[in-house]
Symmetry: C2
Subunit: 156 residues, 2 copies
């Protein structure tokens, strides 16, 4: 006998009894996160990178010449936690740091062309998932999704 189709490795959807009307929504939040990031994580893993590296690339792409300290603030992690992944990105020349032009004592970070390519590809994988989902529900549905997520995100 076959082994009853072991299926996906994570939680599979719709296998649990709903005890509450909102359980389905609750579970969708779990699966949604994974659904959005799965392809990007695979892409990154193939390059020897992972989520923390992507987070750094994502932020630096949107805040060129950000200082180390500001990056730490935005990411919400300690400088020691930042050290390893940041060091790898610098070593691989996906990121460059320069001391501030004349003034300041902080180091400013910026993506290289290679870093930009990788950041864009990884984020594209995530945006593709979103775009396809939005396409299925149309602009009003997408707007509603944004409104709901905004309200949820406010609980931070």
């Amino acid at each position: 006998m076959q082994k009853t189709a072991t299926q996906a490795p994570g939680l599979h959807r719709a296998s649990l009894t709903k005890l509450n009307e909102l359980d389905a929504a609750l579970e969708l939040m779990y699966y949604g996160w994974r659904g959005m990031t799965l392809a990007a994580d695979e892409y990154l893993a193939a390059l020897g990178l992972s989520r923390p590296h992507h987070r750094i690339l994502y932020v630096v792409a949107r805040r060129p010449d950000i200082s180390i300290g500001a990056l730490i603030e935005v990411l919400g992690i300690s400088k020691q936690a930042l050290n390893r992944p940041l060091g790898l990105l610098l070593e691989r020349k996906l990121l460059v740091s320069k001391r501030s032009p004349e003034q300041h004592r902080s180091k400013l970070l910026r993506l290289t062309a290679a870093g930009q390519r990788i950041e864009q590809s990884a984020s594209d994988h995530e945006r593709k998932v979103l775009r396809e989902a939005f396409d299925r529900v149309g602009a009003p549905g997408a707007a509603a999704w944004m409104a709901v997520m905004g309200a949820i995100a406010d609980n931070n």
Copy 2:
């Protein structure tokens, strides 16, 4: 000068330039997850529990008499990874295991009354966030959110 309002500990929203139309949606997915789970995680932490424990309680609540093997399947983790948190829940008598009534060689898991209370409280914290967000957009908005998240979750 003040220190420019050090703000929240995580990523704070809306601080990044948008390079792409979908960047806002992408970031909402990050913040949304944290927004939904924050209160629940604090509640659990106060009890000396965390997300893995909640995941176990959540699943067992919705699949009473689930076997260890099936639980491993649903959670998508190894039996070694399950061992610690499951052991704690049994030790604290939030969960009981019994060998199957007559047949089978598997152990069946079930919540105790105390386990049910905690599972419900933790999940309630998450559902409260969802409910409030849904209330702000009305039933059609909530339905659209579900549709979008369903489409995203399908990428698993």
